[in-house]
C-alpha cells in the first residue's frame, strides 16, 4: 500500500488531456509517482497533498523536444540543474537535451554524465539526444547503438546541418538498426553564407546579410527525398519557412515517417520584430525570424497537425555573447519559461484550439521520439502541469530560473503561467518559488 503522503490530489481544475480525450473539470490523483486516476470524485485520502486547481488548467507535464542545457562544458550559460529548474517553472516536466555540449554528446560517458546530473537535480526528466556524427563535425557516424543503450532517445547534430548528402543517407539508414529518430537542423550553409537574419526587404533596409528561406527548404526537400530511399524516422527541428511546411505536408500525405516541431518564437515573431528591436541580438536566432507569410504557414501547419510539436530551442547565452553588435552576437534565445503564454496567445487570437495547443506540448511531442508521458492515462508517469491561463506577468530576465537572460520577451507582459509542476508525483515547482 502506498503512503498517503505520496498521494497528490489535484481538485477543481479543468483537465485537458488530448491523449485520452478528456476536457472538463476532473480530479487527478497521483500515487506512487504515477497517474492513479482522473475522475469526477472529489474525496482525498487524509494526509494526501491536495491542490486546489479551480480556474486553472491541469494537463500532462509538457515535453520539450529541443533544449540546450549547456552541460557539460558551458556551465556559464546554463547547467542541467538551472535548465531543468527553468523547465519545470514553464510547465515542462521532460526535456530532450541537444548534444552540442563541450565535448559533444557523441559517446556514452557524456550521456551518462547528463543523466547523472539530471537525477541529482531531481527536477524535469532529461532525455539526452546523441550526435549524428562524431564531434558533430559531419564527417563520421557516431556510435548509435551505444548511445541508445546509454539512454539517448534521438540523434541530432543540431546547431549544424549534415551537409554531406552521402553521410546523411548512411546516418538515416544506420539509425534504423536502433529505432532512433534523426532530428535535423536544416540549413544549406552555402546559401546561408554570412547571413544573420531573414533575407528580404527588412534585411535590405537594415543592411544585415540575409538568409533566404530556401536555405532551409532545400535541405528539408533533400532529407524528405532521402527518407524515401532509406526509411527510418526523420524529425525536422525548428521549422521556420512556408516552403518547409508545404514540403512536410506533402510528405505526410504520402505517408513518409516524418515528424516536425516549431518554436514559440517562430510562431509569434517576424523579421519586422528584428527591425522594431533596433538590432537587439535577443532577436537573433537560427533559423532566423521569418516573414509574416512564413509565420502564417507555421501557424496553419501547427493547427492542422502537419507540425506535431511545439519545442522551445531554449538556447541560453551569456551577456558577453549577446550584448554585442548584431553581426557578432551568438544565435539563440531562452524559451522554457515563456513558451506557454506565448503560444496561448495564438489560442486567444483564434489561431489554435486549446486542445491542439496542449497536444503539441504533450502527447504530440512524446510521439515524435517515442517518449513516456504526455498523457494522464492511468499508469502514466505522474508528470502534471497546472496552468493559470489568465495570470498576467511581466518578463524580467533577472528573475528567471535560467542562468542566462537572452529573451526577446523581456519587459513584455505575458498572460498564462505554470503555477505547479509535478514530476513522478513530486511537486517540483510552485509559483512564488524564489530563484
Amino acid at each position: 500500500m502506498s503512503n498517503p503522503k505520496d498521494v497528490v490530489v489535484i481538485q477543481g481544475g479543468r483537465v485537458i488531456d488530448p491523449a485520452s480525450g478528456i476536457d472538463g473539470v476532473r480530479t487527478v490523483v497521483l500515487r506512487d509517482g504515477k497517474v492513479a486516476e482522473v475522475s469526477e470524485r472529489v474525496e482525498a485520502p487524509s494526509g494526501a497533498l491536495v491542490v486546489d486547481a479551480r480556474g486553472k488548467w491541469v494537463t500532462p507535464g509538457f515535453i520539450d523536444l529541443h533544449v540546450h542545457l549547456r552541460e557539460p562544458g558551458q556551465e556559464y550559460k546554463e547547467s542541467i540543474a538551472t535548465g531543468t529548474r527553468a523547465a519545470v517553472a514553464g510547465g515542462f516536466t521532460s526535456v530532450c537535451a541537444m548534444p552540442n555540449t563541450v565535448p559533444a554528446n557523441d559517446n556514452t560517458s557524456v550521456t551518462e554524465l547528463m543523466l547523472a546530473r539530471a537525477a541529482a537535480a531531481g527536477l524535469a526528466r532529461v532525455y539526452p539526444i546523441g550526435a549524428v556524427t562524431k564531434g558533430r563535425k559531419g564527417e563520421e557516424l557516431a556510435e548509435y547503438g551505444e548511445l541508445r543503450a546509454a539512454g539517448c532517445v534521438a540523434l541530432s547534430d543540431d546547431g549544424s546541418p549534415v551537409m554531406s548528402s552521402g553521410l546523411m543517407r548512411r546516418a538515416m539508414e544506420y539509425s534504423r538498426a536502433f529505432g532512433l529518430p534523426v532530428a535535423v537542423h536544416e540549413e544549406d550553409l552555402h546559401l546561408v553564407g554570412k547571413g544573420v537574419m531573414n533575407e528580404g526587404a527588412i534585411a535590405t533596409r537594415l543592411g544585415l546579410k540575409g538568409v533566404p528561406a530556401q536555405a532551409e527548404d532545400v535541405m528539408v526537400l533533400r532529407d524528405l527525398s532521402l527518407l524515401e530511399l532509406t526509411g527510418g524516422r526523420l524529425h525536422l527541428c525548428h521549422l521556420s519557412t512556408a516552403g518547409s511546411v508545404r514540403a512536410l505536408r506533402d510528405a505526410r500525405r504520402r505517408g513518409l515517417p516524418v515528424t516536425a516541431e516549431v518554436t514559440p518564437h517562430h510562431l509569434a515573431l517576424t523579421d519586422e520584430d528584428v527591425a522594431a528591436s533596433d538590432y537587439d541580438p535577443d532577436f537573433k536566432m537560427n533559423p532566423p525570424l521569418r516573414s509574416a507569410d512564413d509565420v502564417r504557414a507555421l501557424r496553419e501547419g501547427l493547427a492542422d497537425g502537419t507540425i506535431d510539436a511545439i519545442a522551445t530551442d531554449h538556447a541560453p547565452h551569456s551577456p558577453e555573447e549577446k550584448k554585442l553588435e548584431f553581426d557578432a552576437a551568438l544565435n539563440g534565445v531562452l524559451g522554457l519559461e515563456t513558451a506557454f503564454p506565448v503560444c496561448l496567445d495564438l489560442v486567444r487570437q483564434g489561431l489554435l484550439t486549446e486542445r491542439r495547443l496542449v497536444e503539441a506540448l504533450t502527447v504530440g511531442a512524446a510521439r515524435c521520439f517515442g517518449l513516456p508521458g504526455g498523457t494522464l492515462a492511468s499508469g502514466a508517469p505522474g508528470d502534471v502541469a497546472i496552468l493559470d491561463p489568465t495570470a498576467a506577468w511581466v518578463v524580467d530576465p533577472m528573475r528567471g530560473f535560467s542562468k542566462s537572460r537572452n529573451t526577446p520577451w523581456k519587459g513584455r507582459t505575458l498572460t498564462g503561467r505554470c503555477t505547479h509542476a509535478f514530476v513522478g508525483g513530486r511537486l517540483v515547482h510552485e509559483t512564488g518559488d524564489p530563484r
Binding site: L206, G207, D327
Partner: protein, 317 residues
C-alpha cells in the same frame, strides 16, 4: 539637435524638414570654408571623438577638419575590429571613450546597427560615419547637398545609383533622403548586387545601364569592392566594367547633356568609372568632397552646439 534627434545614425528616420535643416546650415558652413581664416569658435570646448573600426581616410579626415574649423577638439581613435572571443568589446571601447567625456562620438563600424547599439548605451551624441551595409548618413546628406547646389532643387529630378547596391550603405542613405527632397531614384546593377525587396524603399530597379541612365539628371557610381569578385557576385571586373561601368563614350551617348556624375570614393579607375569621366566636365566628385566638410560641420554643430547661445551669429559673422 537635428530636428528631434540627438543622434545621427541614419537618414531613414529624418523628415524632409530635418534634412533641409542640415543642408541649409551647411550652406552657411561652406561659406566659412572660403574665408582666409577658416576657424569659427562655435564648438570651442567641445570634444569630438572619431571612433573608426574600419579604415577610412576621406570620411575621417572630413569629420576631423569639420570639427577643427568649428574649434572643437578632435581625437581619432582607430580600433581593431571587435571580436566576441578576444579583445575589447564594442561596448567596452565606447564606455571607455565615454569616460573621457566626448560631446560627439563619430563611429564607423563594419557591423550594421553598431551605431544604434552605441546610441543605446552611451550618453553623448552618436554620429554614424557608415555602418556595414546599413547607412552612411553624412554621405547621403552631402550627395543631396551637391545635387541641390547644382540644380537648385531636387524636385522632379531623377538620380540613378549604379553598382553593388547590396553592400552599399551609401545607396541606402541616398534612398532614404533623395526621394524626400522630391527626386526619383533608379537602381542599376547586376541582379546579384540588387538586394531583395529594395523596391520597397521607393526605387525602380534596372539591370541595363543604358535604360537606367536614360533622361537622368545625375548618376551615382558606386565603388566595386574587390572582395565581391568571386563572392561570386560577378565573374570579374572586366565584364563588370563592360556592362555597368561608365566611360566617356557611353556618357556622351547615353546621358543627357546636363547630367552630372557622383562617386562616394575611393574610385576604382577603369572599373566603375574611366578616368576621362571621373576627371571630366560632368564629374562633381571633388565638389562632393568639399561639400562633405560643410555638411559634417552642420551635423556636428547641430548635435553639439546646443541651444541658447549665439553660435549661429558667430558662424555667419
Amino acid at each position: 539637435m537635428i530636428g528631434r534627434h540627438r543622434h545621427l545614425i541614419g537618414l531613414e528616420g529624418l523628415s524632409r524638414e530635418e534634412i533641409l535643416q542640415v543642408l541649409d546650415l551647411a550652406t552657411s558652413m561652406k561659406e566659412v570654408l572660403t574665408r582666409p581664416v577658416k576657424k569659427v569658435p562655435s564648438l570651442r570646448g567641445k570634444n569630438v571623438v572619431n571612433l573608426f573600426f574600419e579604415t577610412s581616410t576621406r570620411t575621417r579626415s572630413s569629420f576631423e577638419i569639420a570639427a577643427k574649423v568649428l574649434s572643437a577638439d578632435c581625437l581619432n581613435w582607430t580600433a581593431a575590429q571587435s571580436s566576441t572571443t578576444k579583445g575589447e568589446t564594442l561596448l567596452d571601447t565606447a564606455k571607455n571613450l565615454e569616460a573621457m567625456r566626448p560631446d560627439v562620438l563619430v563611429v564607423r563600424h563594419s557591423a550594421s546597427g553598431a551605431p544604434n547599439f552605441l546610441a543605446r548605451h552611451v550618453g553623448c551624441s552618436v554620429v554614424s560615419a557608415g555602418d556595414g551595409a546599413h547607412e552612411h548618413p553624412s554621405q547621403g546628406l552631402l550627395d543631396c547637398f551637391t545635387l541641390r547646389e547644382r540644380f537648385g532643387s531636387l524636385e522632379g529630378r531623377t538620380v540613378a545609383i549604379v553598382g553593388d547596391i547590396s553592400h552599399s550603405r551609401v545607396a541606402r542613405s541616398d534612398l532614404h533622403s533623395l526621394p524626400k527632397l522630391g527626386a526619383k531614384v533608379r537602381l542599376c546593377g547586376p541582379p546579384t548586387m540588387i538586394p531583395l525587396g529594395v523596391e520597397r524603399l521607393g526605387a525602380t530597379v534596372h539591370h541595363d545601364l543604358r535604360t537606367a541612365v536614360e533622361g537622368v539628371d545625375a548618376v551615382v557610381m558606386l565603388r566595386i569592392q574587390h572582395e565581391r569578385i568571386g563572392d561570386p557576385l560577378i565573374p570579374n571586373t572586366r565584364e563588370y566594367s563592360k556592362f555597368w561601368g561608365l566611360n566617356a563614350k557611353k556618357a556622351a551617348e547615353w546621358l543627357p547633356p546636363g547630367a552630372v556624375i557622383l562617386h562616394p570614393g575611393p574610385i576604382n579607375r577603369g572599373v566603375e568609372l574611366s578616368s576621362d569621366v571621373a576627371d571630366g566636365p560632368r564629374s562633381v566628385i571633388l565638389d562632393q568632397v568639399q561639400n562633405g566638410v560643410a555638411v559634417r560641420m552642420a551635423i556636428l554643430y547641430l548635435l553639439a552646439g546646443g541651444a541658447g547661445e549665439d553660435r549661429a551669429e558667430k558662424v555667419s559673422a
